[in-house]
Amino acid sequence: MKYIKYMLVGTMFGLVLTKTEAVSWFRIQEMFRFQSFHMYGIIGSAIVVGVISIQIIKRFKIKALGGETISIPDKKFNKGAIFGGTIFGMGWALAGACPGPLYALLGAGYTSIIVVILSALAGTWVYSYLRPKLPH
């Protein structure tokens, strides 16, 4: 199965998110109240490692294992970053989780998270349906 490797990376990702409590509603409350450095330290150091790795990949023109050139397309700005960003932030603060932690919390045994996941799927579907009418 060519996808197993992505599942393994996801397993590491989910384990790290869980063990560092980034999946915790309590930690998200703490973050949005600026009462601890914890979440900022996680996001900040992840970005530092990400920036350095991407620079190395670009400088040395490192290729993917399959031989294809690694390319990171530029994100194009649209007003969704503002409107959608604000709505997402509100959901993040209210439910205390973003999409990654939702899957991790379900795995950790908090089965009522399925309600949040189904609602997130509904939100995704409704956005997709309304997309032509929304400002972008």
């Binding site: 599942m7 996801g10 989910g14 996680i42 959608g84 959901g91 603060a93 950790a108 939100g123 032509p132």
Partner: protein, 188 residues
Amino acid sequence: MIELLKEPWPWYVSGPLIGISIPILLILGNKMLGISSSLRHTCAAVLPGNVAFLKYNWKSEMWSMFFALGIFIGGFIGGNLLNNGEPVKISAETVEDIKALGINSFEGLVPSDIFSWDAVFTLQGLIILVFGGFMIGFGSRYAGGCTSGHAIMGLSSLQWPSLVAVIFFFVGGLIMTHLIAPVLYSIL
């Protein structure tokens, strides 16, 4: 060693491990870290209806669903096999602020006042879980990504539209935490 792994992992261990998943995904198959896309692919696979935004070859994005499945497995390992059963050690001020909302359970990763099947069938629990989830799905797709795609991947690749998105994630989060949630908790 196992005892050490069961302790909560400090940010300077977890942050770099999260960051290193970016080059791993790029090198494994030129994949861009981003988790909310898996929600779109699931919609496209299950209920595309007549919606143009959901009509694409989602099968070519299957890696993203396997990545999400992996996160689920990682959550299982971290939340069960490597769980020390201690409450999350948040700051004393946060505990006070959360108690002021009327939440009193501090066991586990999430409060059972909201995240339990009993709570799902109360107005407060239902509204928080359903509206919270809806805004997560709607907002992340509208913004073109979530914390992983914009904050981690987008900022790591120095994309200014991602910086705008992340700033507004925080604008929304601060509005919810400090203005809307206190009202919601008091009336529900």
